[in-house]
């Protein structure tokens, strides 16, 4: 027994030495997101996109700083803020300097606070937090700090683009807002009512309602109310099965107007909507894959699908995050001094692989980028989702969306 454990200890030590030797030249990036539990599908798909982006966009191009490669190190946080902080500490203890996370604003809030504290107390082992998906506006407003960079458009920017499109459509006179009963659902509802009242005072909000999150078996009664209200359009921030259930019920109930959503695509949702969603479903997001922006982009997505046939390039911003980090490290000339890397990221302009120019706003570290309104359809889809033949095609684009949006951020710089 004793010998066995000593032997295994020896093997372990040998292995870890080998592992650290192999990655001596690698710049490690900690990926802290759910890899088990109910949201694992999203997390695992995100991890694949990171690993692929690092390999394809950085390592194959010769790495950074004369040959250093990117290595993505996954940490499972089970979507729990508490677990995330433990994993964050583990990552920092392993000497990792770059943290990426995206699923759930609750987790992002916890991480950004912890990173800020850690960096103040430990100037020798500072880290950068690259948030690629958590869209709570507070992260780049009241809660902003120098170490946090957001690569997704936040909820208000998306709502701004969405309400621009609605305001330009004279056929829309009545709007129904429905969402899940929690902070994000409420933020979407508040944003929608406030911005519509400002841009199109004549639009009537015929319904503004929150339903229990993940508890509704059958959305038919909600769909009946929406149709009975005479709404011309629906706005919802629902995701997951709540999105699918609500959307399908509304469509089955004979609703033909547009349904404006944040998250009605990929992870099985596109395939499940299929023909039913054609013509009605809209989605607001960054990063367009249909129509392809360039040869380079087409090759990238094709290669991803070849490696992960069941996966989707559902978060184009991941490629932006990886490319901009590589560029910043190159510009700073170091991957160890994160202050220099952070300063290089600030104000960086970058030509996105998905088309359009990206600009990391120095005031609040919010990435300013093109935001698109997509249509769920079959026509003009080069790269589909869920291998269903259906996908998202750009319907309209807001260039450099909300580039001048106000921020309450008062950043302290090191």
């Amino acid at each position: 027994m004793k010998r066995a454990s000593r032997l295994s200890l020896g093997v372990f030590a040998a292995l870890s030495i080998a592992a650290s030797a192999a990655s001596a030249e690698a710049i490690r990036i900690a990926f802290i997101d759910p890899l088990s539990g109910p949201f694992a599908a999203t997390g695992v798909n995100g991890l694949h996109q990171y690993e692929f982006a690092a390999e394809e966009l950085v390592n194959k191009a010769g790495g950074v700083l004369g040959g250093k490669t990117f290595e993505i190190v996954p940490f499972d946080n089970q979507t729990s803020p508490k677990e995330s902080l433990i994993q964050l500490q583990v990552a920092i203890d392993q000497g990792i300097r770059f943290i990426v996370q995206g699923n759930s604003s609750g987790v992002a809030n916890a991480i950004t606070e912890a990173v800020d504290k850690h960096n103040r107390r430990n100037p020798d082992s500072r880290v950068l937090f690259l948030n690629y998906s958590a869209v709570d506006p507070a992260l780049t407003n009241d809660k902003c700090n120098f170490w946090h960079f957001r690569f997704d458009a936040h909820a208000d920017i998306k709502m701004d683009a969405l309400t621009d499109v609605i305001a330009a459509n004279d056929a829309i006179k009545k709007v129904y807002v429905i969402g899940q009963d929690y902070s994000f659902g409420k933020a979407v509802a508040d944003g929608a009512t406030a911005m519509l009242a400002e841009k199109r005072p004549d639009i009537e909000i015929v319904g503004n309602e929150l339903h229990p999150i993940g508890k509704v078996k059958d959305f038919t009664p909600y769909a009946r109310k929406i149709v009975a209200s005479g709404a011309d359009a629906v706005i919802t921030g629902n995701w997951g099965t709540d999105m699918l259930g609500l959307g399908k019920s509304i469509l089955e109930n004979g609703f033909t107007g547009p349904i404006f959503t944040y998250y009605a695509a990929a992870d099985g949702i596109t395939a499940a909507f299929g023909a039913a969603g054609d013509g009605s479903l809209r989605l607001v997001s960054e990063g367009a894959i249909n129509p392809p922006a360039s040869e380079r982009m087409s090759a990238y997505v094709t290669a991803f699908k070849a490696k992960y046939p069941d996966g989707n390039v559902s978060q184009p911003r991941i490629a932006n995050t990886v490319e901009m980090l590589a560029k910043a490290i190159e510009a700073a000339g170091t991957a160890d001094d994160v202050v220099a890397v952070g300063k290089a990221l600030e104000g960086m302009k970058h030509e996105s692989i998905w088309g359009g120019e990206l600009y990391m706003r120095p005031e609040d570290h919010q990435l300013i980028q093109d935001v698109h309104i997509f249509k769920h359809t079959k026509d003009g889809v080069v790269f589909d989702y869920d291998n269903s033949g259906y996908g998202l095609v750009v319907e309209s684009t807001v260039k450099n969306a909300s580039a001048d949006i106000a921020t309450t951020c008062q950043m302290e710089r090191p």
Binding site: T241, A271, A272
Partner: protein, 318 residues
């Protein structure tokens, strides 16, 4: 007024779907005295099997084959699982079915992934049959109503008119006596368990395209099915039917009408606080019926347990 009619139809669909699950469960419960926690998991299996079959041969063969497979699986579980655990008492049985539910969920995730699968209603039923003041009633929902009605009538006839049904009824209340009379009671138990799970399978097949086919579908429906059989009374088919319809209509109507606590309380003569956002009872004042809708069935169960512990149609205590 038109909306009332639409809601009646929607509630009927939900209720009948619940009935298909609860009818099997209530028979199994009264027979073995054990809650089958895995019952809703068989419902999920039905949906996934039918999805797999529909990919190659279409929806209609799936409607027949999937419940058969689920029923056989259920019978096997009874024969080689539950029956062995049975001699150790009810608690091990309970734990066994609980573990089975977890196992089935993991297996489903292993084979079909964690995301929702695109299980769609057949093309032939993909149209609005009629509409009531702008609210379309899909043909598929009417089809659901007919299937569940047919199953209810069939079950009722078998249980009350046929010889097999009489033996089952006798075995439910007096298993020893029936065994002494020369009937193979374990076989009857296995048969009932198989048929019960097959019914859950049918429910899964026809509900999958409407409510979505995903690994959480068993959990979403599971608890409400237990509520149904407790409210209806254990072992009573009529009770299961009435309770299912009741719960179907209660949840549908609750979600449909935005009656707020504000209206109720002011109607009762209370005056709302001046500044609602500062009030201690803010949450009570801002509550609406759709928000409390999902807990109404549980409230109903508590009421039934307090005032009529054997359920609406039951003959013995829970």
């Amino acid at each position: 007024m038109d909306l009332v009619l639409v809601n009646l139809i929607d509630g009927l669909v939900t209720g009948l779907l619940l009935f298909m699950l609860s009818s099997g469960l209530t028979l199994i419960f009264s027979m073995m005295g054990v809650l089958n926690f895995a019952h809703a998991s068989f419902y999920m299996l039905g949906a996934y099997f039918a999805y797999q079959i529909s990919k190659s041969v279409g929806f209609w063969p799936g409607l027949l084959i999937a419940p058969l497979i689920v029923g056989v699986l259920g019978a096997l579980v009874e024969r080689y699982g539950l029956r062995r655990v049975h001699k150790y008492g009810h608690v091990p049985e309970l734990i066994f079915t609980f573990g089975l539910a977890l196992l089935i969920e993991e297996i489903v995730q292993f084979f079909w992934g964690r995301a929702q699968v695109p299980f769609l209603a057949p093309e032939a039923l993909n149209f609005a049959l009629f509409s009531i003041s702008g609210n379309a009633i899909p043909a598929y929902k009417v089809f659901m109503i007919f299937i569940s009605m047919a199953i209810f009538i069939g079950l009722l006839l078998v249980l009350t008119k046929s010889r097999v049904g009489l033996i089952i009824q006798a075995a439910l209340s007096h298993p020893q006596t029936v065994e002494t009379l020369g009937h193979n009671v374990p076989l009857i138990f296995m048969g009932v368990f198989g048929v019960g799970t097959a019914l859950a399978g049918v429910a899964g097949v026809i509900a999958g395209p409407v409510l979505g086919t995903f690994p959480g579908m068993a959990i979403v429906l599971g608890s409400i099915v237990f509520v149904t059989i407790v409210v209806g009374g254990l072992g009573s088919l009529w009770g299961a039917l009435v309770a299912s319809l009741l719960i179907g209509w209660v949840t549908t109507f609750a979600a449909s009408y935005n009656v707020g606590m504000m209206d109720v309380l002011t109607g009762l003569g209370f005056t709302p606080p001046e500044d609602l956002s500062e009030s201690l009872f803010r949450d009570i004042w801002s509550l609406t019926l759709p928000q409390v809708g999902p807990i109404l069935p549980y409230l109903l169960m508590v009421m039934v347990l307090v005032f009529r512990p054997y359920g609406l149609f039951g003959k013995r205590d829970v």
